[in-house]
Symmetry: C2
Subunit: 359 residues, 2 copies
């Protein structure tokens, strides 16, 4: 089976072996060095001097944590959306009573940093900007570096869903002025789902001290207090910690720059291959993601049928679209434990499957 | 290493092997039958015709979910506490704006069902009763059957933390009038942490329809909508699902009554052994838990030293006390993957270690 979805991504044998290890006391002396070592290596990959906290949840839990830890009900928030996960981020903020203005772009079209600046200039009451770095739903990378500069210029808190980009493409959290950045274990980190990892800047801690949205499980202060004792406030996903301990070494041994180059190369190879087969990319190619490729197909192509043929006849699993793109695109994950040969193999299979998926 | 803490509990080899399986598409056709089959078997063990939902979190996440899904800010709640986890349940309700009255008993002393009835008679505005079935912090089983009868008599919603009892001792959720019952994967279920499992009665769904506490990640409606499609709303802890699929079969093959008898036998053996060594039990013995034994020691015993000796010289891991009992008791877990021989071995080691732990 070739799993080519944007997550859970395939795990290397070392990670799967670690998942099978026996339990330990998460309040004992063995767990503390494991937690500290994982956290310190995460800080290197996040490229941050800030804190990084582990939450036992999916990435969405991390998004909720980012919001409830830094905002109060009624706070004005600018939420930049150009895809399914941008909408989700907005929806969570609304659920907790934030006063959300959506700066919406068509799904698959880029965010205009000047538009962000304009929105912040027009509404000085805005406290925070929410955005998705890598829109998994459209295969698009938003220009976080430029938007981060804008958010800093206007002194706004910047909360970033980087669930499917961090650890795969360059995201220097501090240099790009990101205050809370969320990622999830089952993406570039090459381990199963169960952990969200969240960075917290000094500015985010200041906002946290004033933030009054209700919280307990997600509370950053409780997480930080426990971390100082080498613990998490609630029982952590111990097995995922074991596995992450292994894959963080793999990532750092490969070298961060090499990890980023590999994802860039694999992303380009995927896009080139897709176009060579006569298929169109869904997003503006200048902003195409190096971790997820979204394909809008061709006139003659029945996308749901293609997904089925790939699965049933070739044992290759790709994802369909999300939300309003449900039957309109297919999405190919190429993040984490992925190499050039995986994509060569995938493109070969895709070429064979295409004639069976005509309308 | 013998892990004798109240969780994470040791996992059988079959569960660990399952943890090491490769990822699958959690939105694909393979995951749906796995999720449905796990859920149906959980319903049998919960002894409920109601729904059972899987949440990717620790048990505490399940407690938070129970509260935010059934209550509104300002709702009056009676929270019965006689231990650390009762306090935690109350604290979560307070954090979300419930108007909480604590019916507190000394840690380790039983809850008086007549006292519960009195409290409900005196304050007719109370909407819900919160309680812990098995107080992991004190090794005590609260009389859920009688309190459930009282709660139903007064037509109150009953939310129950059964994290360390369900799947180990008899807890017929429907017969005992429980509306939301929470458990966690790393306890009696013999798999690693990462999933909370929560039952939802028809009355709880009615309360949910009116409940206005903010929620997104924990939302029962979103979980139920996804379940109908064979999915979870957010990426689940897939590996823990694989493992739970295995251990649920083990539990049902052993037979629920046999699982309960084994825990009763192992609990009694632990208590008898503790007393035979001249040590005292912490809680009222009539209410001693069959899954966790709390030992208050003896005049001559240095409990923190005993815990250290057991760990360093015998590779046996027990837990200390929680909160205000931190250095005052030790706690022995005997739930999930545990048999008589494990306890025989533990008691032998304990006997050897005691002389090295004198004050």
């Amino acid at each position: 089976m070739q799993l080519r979805i944007p997550g859970p991504t395939p795990c290397p044998p070392e990670a799967l072996e670690a998942m099978g290890r026996q339990m330990m006391n998460h309040r004992g002396g063995e767990f503390a060095p494991l937690l500290r070592s994982i956290t310190e290596r995460l800080q290197r990959i996040f490229q941050t001097n800030g804190d990084v906290l582990l939450l036992t949840s999916s990435g969405t839990g991390g998004m909720e944590a980012a919001i409830v830890n830094t905002l109060s009900p009624g706070d004005r928030v600018l939420s930049i959306t150009n895809g399914f996960f941008g909408e989700r981020f907005s929806d969570i903020a609304v659920a907790y009573g934030a006063d959300v203005t959506r700066l919406s772009y068509e799904w698959g079209t880029p965010v205009d940093p000047d538009g962000v600046a304009r929105a912040l200039r027009e509404d000085t009451a805005i406290k925070a900007v929410l955005m998705v770095h890598n829109e998994t739903s459209t295969g698009m990378a938003n220009d976080l570096e430029r938007i981060g500069t804008v958010a800093r210029e206007f002194e706004k808190l910047l909360l970033v869903d980087a669930i499917s980009s961090l650890g795969c493409v360059n995201l220097p959290v501090d240099d790009w002025h990101c205050d809370v950045v969320i990622t999830g274990s089952q993406k570039g980190w090459m381990v199963p789902p169960g952990l969200a990892m969240v960075s917290v800047s000094e500015r985010a801690w200041q906002a946290h001290a004033r933030a009054r949205m209700p919280r307990c499980y997600w509370d950053f202060s409780l997480a930080m207090d426990s971390y100082r004792k080498g613990q998490t406030p609630w029982t952590p996903a111990v097995s995922v910690c074991y596995a992450l301990d292994t894959t963080l070494d793999m990532m750092l041994n490969e070298g961060l720059d090499n990890v980023f180059l590999r994802h860039a190369r694999v992303g380009q190879k995927t896009r080139d291959g897709i176009k060579a087969l006569g298929l169109s990319l869904f997003p503006d190619e200048d902003y195409a993601s190096d971790t997820v490729t979204a394909v809008s197909g061709a006139d003659w192509l029945d996308i749901p049928r293609l997904i089925r043929v790939l699965r049933e006849q070739y044992d290759v699993i790709v994802a369909g679209g999300m939300g309003k793109l449900s039957t309109k695109i297919l999405r190919i994950g190429h993040l984490g434990y992925v190499c050039d040969e995986d994509i060569d193999l995938f493109l070969e299979v895709l070429e064979k499957a295409l004639p069976q998926a005509k309308k």
